[in-house]
């Protein structure tokens, strides 16, 4: 039965007072002298009071001591034992205090346990966080390396793309040159074809003229032959004249002989005969001259004829050569036309190629832009990765700090001794 201390003091006081009263009543009946009676009663009352007080105080002090010891244990962090007061029939406020202390201990124990578990978890988490952040740092470092590589690759790519762009531009220039050359070639082929056509025309004209000349030469040859015939006729006439001159000569000779035979009478006749003979000689000489001329004319005309035949033969060969030249011109024309066609198609192809090269240049420019953007983005990523790495390091530091804090907290709550099963 719970009795408050106040009531206990009141009850004790009442008991002391009651015992005084009781003794005062009792003592006279005991046969004790009068003078002694008062004394005994007081002594008995004091004794009762002392006993009662001793018991009461002893119990109270014991309780207080227990409480103090429990509080000391608490102050030393020993939460292993609850506050146990001696069993009392009349618990008082000390029991309440003990119960309250026990509640405090339980709360503290729970709190410390929670704190310790939390600190442990926090430490573990901090460790994990630290490890994770280290891993993340390593990963970030790796990523940074990778990004660095990517950045370098992007730079190389940019260079390659630049080089490709330059090469393709050069190629485009070359293709333009090829196209220009093909155009020039086409023009040249066209010129060649025109020239060859002119040449062919000239060769045909030459053929016609040569035929004309051949006809003229043949006519000339015929004329020379007829001229030779005429000259031969003259020769016949000259032969006749020569014969006449010879006969005349002979006649003059015979006349001279005859005149000689006539002697003195024939002298004048002989002179005439001599004159006739001289005339005949002179006729014969002239006729011989004419014959020689005719001979030389005949030789000349033969030479002319043979040279004409030579000319005709040469003309024939020249005609053959002209034929060959004409056909060669035809072939040249065909070749030139074919060349022109091919050159034109080359020019068209080169044009298309040039357009394709322009498209390629545009695409390469686009690629270059993309690559440049890529490089920039990669640099940004690199910077971000560095920032992230720095953050990670910071986080790792924070995690380490947190771990240290958790350690400190653990160290702080370690002095609390909990129940043995709780550590």
């Amino acid at each position: 039965m719970r009795v408050e201390i106040t009531y206990k003091f009141v009850a004790g006081f009442i008991i002391v007072v009651g015992s005084v009263v009781f003794l005062n009543l009792l003592v006279p009946s005991l046969g004790i002298p009068e003078e002694m009676q008062q004394f005994v009663a007081v002594a008995c009352a004091i004794l009762v009071g002392l006993v009662l007080g001793w018991f009461f105080s002893r119990a109270f002090t014991a309780n207080i001591r227990h409480l103090r010891e429990a509080a000391e244990r608490l102050s030393h962090g020993d939460l292993s034992e609850p506050v146990r007061l001696p069993r009392s029939s009349f618990p008082d406020e000390t029991a309440d205090l003990a119960a309250s202390l026990n509640l405090v201990v339980a709360s503290l124990r729970e709190l410390v346990g929670t704190i310790r578990a939390s600190a442990v978890r926090a430490a573990e988490s901090a460790h994990g966080l630290s490890a994770t952040s280290e891993e993340m740092t390593a990963s970030t470092q790796e990523m940074a390396n990778t990004v660095e590589q990517i950045s370098r690759g992007a730079e190389t790519q940019a260079e390659m793309v630049e080089k490709s762009s330059r090469l393709i531009r050069e190629m485009a220039v070359s293709i333009d040159l090829i196209a220009a050359s093909a155009k020039k070639l086409s023009a040249s082929a066209s010129d060649t074809a025109r020239t060859a056509q002119r040449g062919g025309t000239i060769a045909r004209n030459s053929m016609a003229k040569m035929k004309q000349v051949l006809g003229d030469v043949e006519r000339n040859g015929e004329q020379i032959v007829s001229f030779g015939t005429q000259v031969q006729k003259i020769g016949k006439i000259v032969e006749v004249i020569t014969g006449i001159a010879q006969k005349t000569n002979l006649l003059a000779l015979n006349a001279t002989i005859e005149a000689a035979r006539a002697g003195e009478y024939g002298r004048g006749f002989a002179v005439v005969a001599e004159e006739i003979r001289k005339l005949a000689d002179s006729s014969s000489d002239s006729a011989g001259e004419i014959s020689r001329l005719i001979e030389s004319i005949r030789e000349e005309s033969q030479k002319v004829q043979s040279s004409m035949q030579e000319s005709i033969r040469e003309m024939d060969s020249e005609r053959a050569a002209l034929d060959t030249t004409s056909s060669a011109f035809e072939e040249i024309i065909q070749t030139a036309v074919a060349t022109q066609t091919k050159a034109t198609s080359i020019a068209e192809l080169s044009q298309k190629q040039a357009e394709g090269a322009k498209g390629m240049v545009a695409a390469i420019d686009e690629i270059s832009r993309v690559v440049t953007d890529n490089a920039a983005a990669t640099q940004e990523v690199s910077a971000a990765t560095e920032e992230q790495s720095a953050s990670m390091e910071e986080m790792a530091r924070s995690a380490q700090d947190l771990s240290a804090l958790a350690e400190q907290l653990l160290e702080a709550v370690r002095r609390f001794r909990l129940a043995p099963e709780q550590g």
Binding site: L250, L253, R277
Partner: protein
């Protein structure tokens, strides 16, 4: 002054007095004389009379082509004979002082009376009498006849 007719026998020049010559004619067609000596290529018809023709070059022993350009008909008073020669040169007056004695040289000596120079060329003066004598000797020697 005596006139002589200069004529050619091959390349050699001969001369004959005009007095011994009847006429000079062109070489006509010959008529073959059977059994005649080789020096007689044939006979000709001269103004109706048949005259034997003597190849003078062959008779005098000249070799070479037988080209008879002209025929000299000897005077009928001398002998009815015609001489075939290569060609007639002309009639020239003969200066007796220019005559040189002929060298004694085989058969030629028998027919050449003398030698004279004309325009730098040496001409043999044919001795007609000697020729006829020689001809007769030959004809007698071979036994052949010569036409009348």
């Amino acid at each position: 002054m005596e006139l002589v007719l200069v004529f050619r026998l091959g390349e050699a020049l001969y001369a004959l007095e005009v007095a011994h010559i009847q006429e000079v004619i062109e070489s006509p067609r010959y008529h073959y004389i059977p059994l005649a000596p080789a020096a007689f290529p044939g006979a000709i018809n001269f103004h109706g009379s048949i005259l034997p023709v003597l190849d003078l070059g062959a008779f005098l022993g000249f070799s070479g082509d037988r080209q008879y350009g002209r025929i000299i008909v000897l005077a009928a008073s001398l002998c009815p004979l015609a001489l075939a020669v290569t060609a007639i040169q002309r009639i020239v007056p003969l200066d007796a002082d220019a005559l040189l004695p002929c060298q004694e040289d085989g058969r030629l000596a028998g027919c050449s009376r003398a030698v004279f120079s004309l325009d730098g060329e040496m001409i043999n003066l044919l001795d007609a009498a000697q020729l006829l004598t020689s001809l007769e000797k030959t004809a007698m020697g071979t036994g052949g006849d010569h036409g009348a």
